[in-house]
Symmetry: C2
Subunit: 270 residues, 2 copies
DNA sequence: CGCCTCATTGACCTAGTTCAATTTGGGTGG
DNA sequence: CCACCCAAATTGAACTAGGTCAATGAGGCG
């Protein structure tokens, strides 16, 4: 509830961090104590409207935001006025956790829909590092998954062409939204116009439209009025050459990496 | 010297971390104590030959490497056999610090030249987090600059075309190499064949060659036998629409961000 | 109803690819 | 020093994915 208090401060309303916790639990053991500390450190909700700029390029930042509802994207303008979308974030993602080490952002963050965020002040991250280094590593991990997604976009833009590039993007959205239970029967909400889709993939609106038709004709993907339907994600993934490894969703390999240290240093995960 | 020991362990030879320290000092206050702790935690040198794979995609990693000499690149293969270079790292860069939170890498790291690295075991990063959180934030910062570079590459690949895209890449290399004193009179060493340059920029070798000729004809850039000469970096940058902000080289804005916390928690920077 | 944004289509144009040959410049062995 | 080799650079000439321009439809909404 928005009225919750702890340590004399307003804390995040119950439920607002759920999707993040769900995404973490998909990847690591995550103790109740860790969840509790995170929740206590997060402050109440902020609302934004579609089109709002949540963070503008270059401005100093003193807190990071977790997207609890809605969609935002990272975007940069070139000197020639071309807009490039560098990532689409989904509920449960931190949208600017990287501003903690960086202090300011190199890009803008814009709301694609009405949305809500929960704050985590940078000084509270300092406290997390001191008290629960394992939780700090989870936060660092979250920022590194974004970096991995960036690398895959570089591959997508530099190496894949046409319909495969587009299909790859939809595969990524499918997997990321599935983590937070936002895919039902192969259908998910995605609030991008064809023009914006083109701004993410490096195509013009016209060509974006034609590629979507191509994917529809091949029975791989239907995308109309902000709703995507994937008949068979396996087929779409194989068409696109999509391999979800880069999302670090699966298991044991990196879970082991994260937890080695706790064992050694005795930080409890319970 | 390679024979140095501390805490009974072989430590990094004197000088091997210099370029990293130089790059940090370009951005933040960095105390001798911090430098000392980093140096004590880093283990002796490993050598690689041009073409060696330092880290291969997917394999688990237990230490990170700082590149003290030579050049390496991050690369991913697509299912269709196309190779994409996602970043070229320069001496003084950590090449896989992100493997600390991630545990494995989503891409391979390949030597472009003979090179030397110094190890930082992940358990030592745990110790750094416990003992010197500010140093840990500097490491986190280093990984986030890579992410920022990735975003700018997304913009470059998605939004800029032809000679401007190529010029932008050379501007980035110029600025990054200047930080570690590897630019002399506008000339710097860059060990990429035209084919590899194309793999970074999403062009074929043939087209890469033609773009280089175009830049040469415009008196913006000369690139022959692994040596790049920029007549006037200002002109090249303005031609490319290059703005170095995303490299987080300059000053006060994010330095303030990094140091706020130390003040609060009293961790000394001296 | 009228407006406005977004989707869609068609015709033409160009940046970049593809294929195929030729040249260049180090290295290497004799 | 020369003959040879090989990878990389360079050139030319078709070819095509994607861009550009311009017009038309279609849904949402005051």
């Amino acid at each position: 509830m928005a009225g919750d208090f702890a340590n004399g401060r307003r804390v995040a309303p119950t439920g607002s961090v759920d999707k993040f916790v769900k995404a973490v639990r998909k990847r690591f053991a995550f103790s109740d104590a860790e969840e509790r500390m995170l929740l206590e450190r997060m402050s109440g909700t902020t609302r934004f409207s579609a089109g709002d700029v949540l963070v503008s390029e270059g401005s100093p930042v003193t807190f990071s935001s977790l997207l609890s509802d809605g969609f935002v994207c990272r975007e940069k303008m070139t000197d020639s006025g071309h807009r490039q979308i560098a990532e689409v974030t989904v509920p449960g993602d931190f949208i600017d956790l990287h501003s903690y080490p960086l202090g300011r952002l190199d890009h803008s963050i814009t709301a694609l829909t009405d949305c809500r965020t929960v704050r985590l002040y940078h000084e509270d991250i300092d406290a997390i590092i001191q008290e629960r280094p394992r939780l700090a590593r989870i936060l660092w991990f979250a920022t590194m998954v974004d970096a991995s997604i960036h690398r895959e976009w570089i591959v997508n833009l530099g190496s894949r062409k046409g319909a495969k590039r587009m299909a790859h993007f939809f595969c990524e959205m499918y997997y990321r939204l599935e983590v937070v239970d936002m895919v039902r029967d192969g259908t998910f909400f995605l609030p991008l116009t064809q023009g914006q889709l083109g701004e993410a993939l490096g195509f013009t609106p016209v060509h974006t439209n034609r590629l979507l038709q191509e994917l529809r004709a091949a029975n791989l993907l239907e995308y109309r009025s902000h709703s995507a339907t994937v008949a068979d994600i396996g087929e779409l993934a194989s068409f696109a050459g999509f391999d979800p490894d880069y999302l670090y969703l699966g298991g044991a390999r990196h879970r082991a990496g994260l937890d080695r240290a706790d064992h050694q240093y005795g930080a409890s995960t319970r």
